[in-house]
Amino acid sequence: MRRKVSEVSKSADEIVYGLKREYLEKICAEGSRIDGRKFDEIRTAVVNTNFVPRAEGSAEVRLGDTRVLVGIKIEQGEPFPDTPNSGILTTNAELLPMASPTFESGPPSEDAIELARVVDRGIRESKMIDLDKLVIKEGEKVWVVFIDMHILDYDGNLIDACSLGAVAALLEAKVPASKIGAEDFPLPINHIPINVTFAKIGNTLLADPNLEEEEVASARLSVATNENGDVVAMQKGLGGSITKEELFSAVDTSIKVGKDIRKRVLGK
């Protein structure tokens, strides 16, 4: 029986994938990574804030060859009925088709939803923004902070690139209070959460996986910590498992790398 071209190429993809995985598992077991980094070493992170001056805050992040742009818009809105004395935070991610041949236009994919929710959780649960200070009129009007994350170029680890971009953009953002006759003010910031994501290849956890590593990883783990070294959010992903020892080694690395990023990249 003749097989359809698409089936043949799918099987070919499977073979290449198998070879890649074997190779990466082998070099990880020998103690090295495909781009020469140490296991707990992240790629060069460059943050360029105020990239979109029309937004209330913005940051372009390059994490290795991954490139994302985060914009913050702050508008007036009605509070949720169960939190009348609190501003609103909402996070959205767009996996633009320009960023990768595997991204498609259309409604947000499962991956885009997970990405947005994991970034949101780190910011929300760390209480980075003091939402109680974003009330205009109790129960009637509050400031709504929109975080919109655009993926421009995809080379792995969108969670960390987007989290870093969102945090950097929020740190710069100004609430446009002049629109209601007051003075613009910076967003009230309490904490600075940093997310560090790991890919598991074989029995090794690699910090800040690039695309090649991410593609062959069996499991993924993201750990967000605050400046006190407390864990504020976590998410395990993909169809593989992790051990308890791996979990705590990831927590330790995340605390360490988080400190470094806060100081070196954000200057905090």
Partner: protein
């Protein structure tokens, strides 16, 4: 009923160290699991866990559809977590929201760790999880029932996936948060494992915990999961014991 308020006005643990529903810090809510509760599904299970009531149906392995979702080397697991509109205090709009999409994804991934998917290329194993009443901890209740339903469908697995959440309330690490504790507590850590290997297959966390507290919480969840794993096996055995005695009954007639 607890009035809405800020975290600080609500005491979740009293002077005797007991929680608002009278439990100790390491005590589970009552759990009851039933196997084979639906007729049409290939496998099914029902779980009551505290106030949670969750029904799970499994279909498959069957040809994956649409075709492009097929994987030539293994089965795909397609989990769908859905909350009934009437399952919560304020009516939930029907259909999947962003939360449900994320939960479905992590549940499917957790089950994938245990199922021998490579035995069924090009197929899908569909796991439908319906939350009929929600009382915190629905994703873990759903996952725990789902792995029982998979066994009921005869799908080969490494072991039953099982989990339990832990968290932090009033500054103390506790097991299995109820709704009030989830709403007004300081951290929530849903976790699931494969008991045989002790691998962690589902892990999420939000809130604030020190590293030491996290270690305590992971340990509490793990111990509880081992206990619930026995409940899963008992539920499965009960089904086959029941069908055995039915047969006996028929023979003696």
């Amino acid at each position: 009923m607890i009035e809405l308020g800020t975290q600080s006005d609500i005491k979740l643990i009293n002077e005797d160290g007991l929680r608002i529903d009278g439990r100790k810090f390491n005590e589970l809510r009552p759990i009851r699991i039933e196997v084979g509760v639906l007729n049409r599904a290939d496998g099914s299970a029902y779980i009551e866990w505290g106030g949670n009531k969750v029904l799970v149906a499994v279909y498959g392995p069957r040809e994956a559809f649409p075709k492009h979702t097929q994987n030539p080397s293994r089965a795909i697991i397609n989990a769908r977590y859905n909350m009934a509109a009437f399952s919560v205090d304020e009516r939930k709009r029907p259909g999947p929201d962003r939360r449900a999409v994320e939960i479905s994804k992590v549940i499917g991934e957790a089950l994938e760790c245990a199922v021998f998917t490579e035995q069924f290329p090009r197929t899908s194993i569909d796991v439908y999880i319906e939350v009929l009443q929600a009382d915190a901890g629905t994703r873990i209740a759903g996952l725990t029932a789902a792995s029982v339903a998979l066994v009921d469908a005869g799908i080969p697995m490494k072991d039953l996936v099982v989990g339990c959440a832990s968290g932090k309330i009033d500054g103390k690490v506790v097991l299995d948060l109820n709704k009030e504790e989830d709403n007004f507590g300081q951290a929530d850590l849903p976790m699931a494992i494969i008991p045989r290997t002790q691998e962690i297959v589902l892990l999420q966390m939000d809130g604030n915990m020190t590293r030491d507290e996290l270690e305590e919480a992971v340990e509490l969840s793990k111990k509880a999961a081992m206990y619930i794993s026995d409940l899963q096996k008992e539920a499965l055995l009960a089904k086959y014991k029941a069908s055995e005695s039915e047969k006996e009954g028929e023979r003696s007639e």
